[in-house]
């Protein structure tokens, strides 16, 4: 976990609190994780567990009601110590974002080409025909047919999938070192999702851009990520290679997330009725909203393995039975089948 030469992003003890009308809310609690150059890391967890806040905090995009502490090391500098002006130059050039809502993330009164061009003009100081050429090239890169014509169109003339491709084109315009994709496919049809994921995968491989993928969709994770960081109630609770995580989850919450994914193979083996036996299982309850970091496991209220220790002492992130870091007092044992080297996904 120490910073080696290939580390691009190193987040250390990132803590974010929000002032609200009902007191402060702890959204991110001492989060640590790293992204290596060219690596595809997924930040996973259900809604409200602090994933997006973490992503926004990277370049200081949180509103004024947020208090942020910790270190955000990026390419040899601490972004937390950078002025707003310096951060502005980093946003869109070194760290680019793709958001969840392609339908509303484009300005309705400017043409697509204008909006891609704006990024190029801002960060690359490109002008005139060079902008148009590069924009066309980017549109082609993200798989938009008839790019030269599409450039002259307005967002409302494009479908959701096409708009998300435009967003990706904008994000990749300056070949950033890190692309933060916050639920990039959540708002899209399943068939369109696959296309977008394809684009993300090939482009990050081609341009050498590292990707921080934020999602609650484990199918997307399995498809795309090299490594997975699981978050729950503002804390990182498990971190592992994607194969490792799917085969040998250590935290009951991770197990729960995996069980909550519809899996045709499991249903088939579990009998004709998915409700019986091996069916789709959900995790009862919801993510707690915390005012402060409790000296306890934040998952204790929803966990089946809870005992007094879980409720009174804070678990630390330490190597679990499968070898990767887990934040749990009673991590799950490694299933025998996976020791035999078999069933990864």
């Amino acid at each position: 976990m120490t910073a080696n030469t290939g580390t691009l992003l190193a987040v250390r003890d990132l803590t974010v609190r929000f002032r609200t009308e009902d007191g402060t809310v702890l959204a991110v609690d001492q989060v640590c994780f790293e992204v290596a150059e060219r690596e595809l890391v997924a930040l996973v967890g259900e809604s409200g567990c602090g994933k997006s806040v973490t992503a926004m905090a990277l370049t200081g995009l949180l509103p004024a009601s947020a208090t942020v502490s910790g270190e955000i090391g990026f390419a040899g500098q601490d972004l937390r110590r950078r002025s707003e002006r310096r951060l502005r130059a980093i946003r869109g050039r070194d760290i680019a974002y793709v958001f969840q809502e392609p339908m509303t993330s484009l300005n309705p009164v400017l043409t697509v080409g204008h909006q891609i061009g704006e990024v190029l003009r801002r960060h690359q100081r490109m002008r005139g025909a060079a902008v148009r050429r590069r924009a066309t090239e980017l549109m082609e890169l993200v798989g938009i047919p008839l790019p030269a014509r599409r450039l002259r169109e307005y967002p409302h003339q494009l479908s959701g999938g096409m708009r998300q491709r435009v967003m990706i084109a904008m994000a990749l315009a300056c070949t950033p070192k890190l692309l933060v994709a916050d639920e990039p496919t959540t708002a899209l049809d399943v068939t369109v999702q696959a296309g977008i994921l394809d684009v993300l995968r090939t482009l990050s491989a081609e341009t050498g851009t590292a990707v921080l993928l934020i999602t609650h969709d484990l199918g997307v994770v399995a498809d795309l990520a090299d490594r997975v960081v699981v978050m729950y109630a503002g804390r990182v609770i498990e971190e592992a290679d994607v194969v490792d995580l799917f085969a040998r989850p250590g935290h009951p919450y991770t197990r729960g997330l995996l069980d909550a994914v519809p899996n045709p193979a499991r249903h088939a083996s579990g009998g004709p009725d998915p409700a019986a036996g091996q069916g789709l299982r959900e995790i009862p309850g919801r993510v707690p909203v915390l005012a402060d970091s409790p000296d306890a496991c934040t998952f204790a209220e929803r966990c089946t393995r809870t005992d007094d220790t879980c409720r009174t002492r804070r678990p630390e992130l330490s190597a679990g039975p499968a070898g990767h870091p887990v934040r749990c007092w009673h991590p799950l044992a490694v299933p025998a089948s996976s020791l035999a080297g078999g069933g990864a996904r």
Binding site: R91, S105, V119
Partner: protein, 294 residues
């Protein structure tokens, strides 16, 4: 089902004017706003071409034909100096429209930047908003009288006074639009792309606020025209012999018994133009409403 199909956006053609052409089509579909648009266009054309259309010079006196009621020779009659009312209404219209448009332009020039700043920066908002309230609370006529005392009564004075008087309303519209727009996803996305405040306001917020401001302007122009009439009626605006609709009504007042048409016709012109602009503005607002364009 067919209704749903009809409301779909037209297939991709030329992009930029498409939404405008669609808005125009929607304005014309509503008979009230279409009528308003026609009257506005005809009036503007008549005002612009006053020199060509007017049968007589507006200040040509004819003491052989004073206070003539409307006739074939003088469609709108003549005044106490025998001047042709039609010619004077046409020229007066030109003055009134010019004052209306210029003063609203002045309001926009001052109000839009202030409104954007107030909506964008939380710290500036109370300052600018209190300024707006103060200006609103300050009697407009006192402001106009004060300005006339400083600059002397003239067309320019009236325009400036009306322009300043209209600023608070524009600030409010621009501010509320900014408050609404800056919360939207595409503004957040632009911030994440590294856009600075000025770029956000200029490229992302202002272009999206244009619709609301445009509609406000179509309502403000008739208000300014009436305002000019009031100021000129009180002797704070245009001075005779230059006609404006307000001046004409003012000078017709003592003659109302002998020549009621002298007051009624310019009054009707103001009413008609105001009504037309309001109807067109209403229609334009509906046509540009994104909820209706679904």
């Amino acid at each position: 089902m067919t209704a749903a199909l009809e409301t779909l956006p037209p297939p991709t053609t030329v992009a930029a004017p498409a939404s405008w052409r669609r808005a125009l089509r929607r304005v014309l579909r509503n008979p009230l706003s279409a009528g308003g648009l026609v009257v506005v266009v005809v009036t503007l054309a008549a005002a612009a071409l006053a020199d060509l259309l007017a049968p007589y010079p507006y200040d040509l006196t004819n003491f052989d034909a004073t206070l003539q009621p409307p006739s074939l020779a003088h469609w709108f009659g003549t005044d106490e100096l025998g001047r042709d009312q039609l010619s004077r209404v046409l020229h007066g219209l030109r003055v009134s429209v010019a004052v209306g448009v210029l003063s609203v332009g002045l309001s926009l020039l001052i109000g839009v930047p202030l409104g954007l700043l107030a909506g964008f920066y939380r710290l500036l908002d109370p300052v600018i908003s209190r300024l707006t309230d103060t200006l609103l609370a300050f009697p407009f006529l006192v402001l106009a009288v004060g300005l006339a005392a400083i600059l002397g009564p003239s067309l320019t004075t009236a325009t400036i006074a009306l322009g300043i008087g209209g600023v608070p309303l524009i600030i409010r519209v621009a501010r509320s639009e900014t408050l609404r727009l800056r919360e939207l996803d595409f503004v957040a996305a632009a911030v994440a792309d590294g856009a600075g405040d000025l770029q956000l306001m200029r490229r992302h917020i202002l272009p999206n606020a244009v619709n609301a401001l445009l509609v406000q302007a179509t309502v403000s122009v008739p208000a300014a025209i009436i305002g000019e009439a009031v100021l000129s009626f009180l002797g704070l605006g245009v001075r005779p012999p230059i006609p404006s609709l307000g001046v004409m009504i003012a000078s017709a007042q003592p003659l109302f018994r002998d020549g009621p048409w002298l007051a009624v016709i310019p009054g009707l012109a103001i009413v008609l133009l105001t009504l037309a602009l309001n109807l067109f503005g209403d229609g334009l607002r509906d046509a540009l409403d994104p909820r209706e364009s679904r």
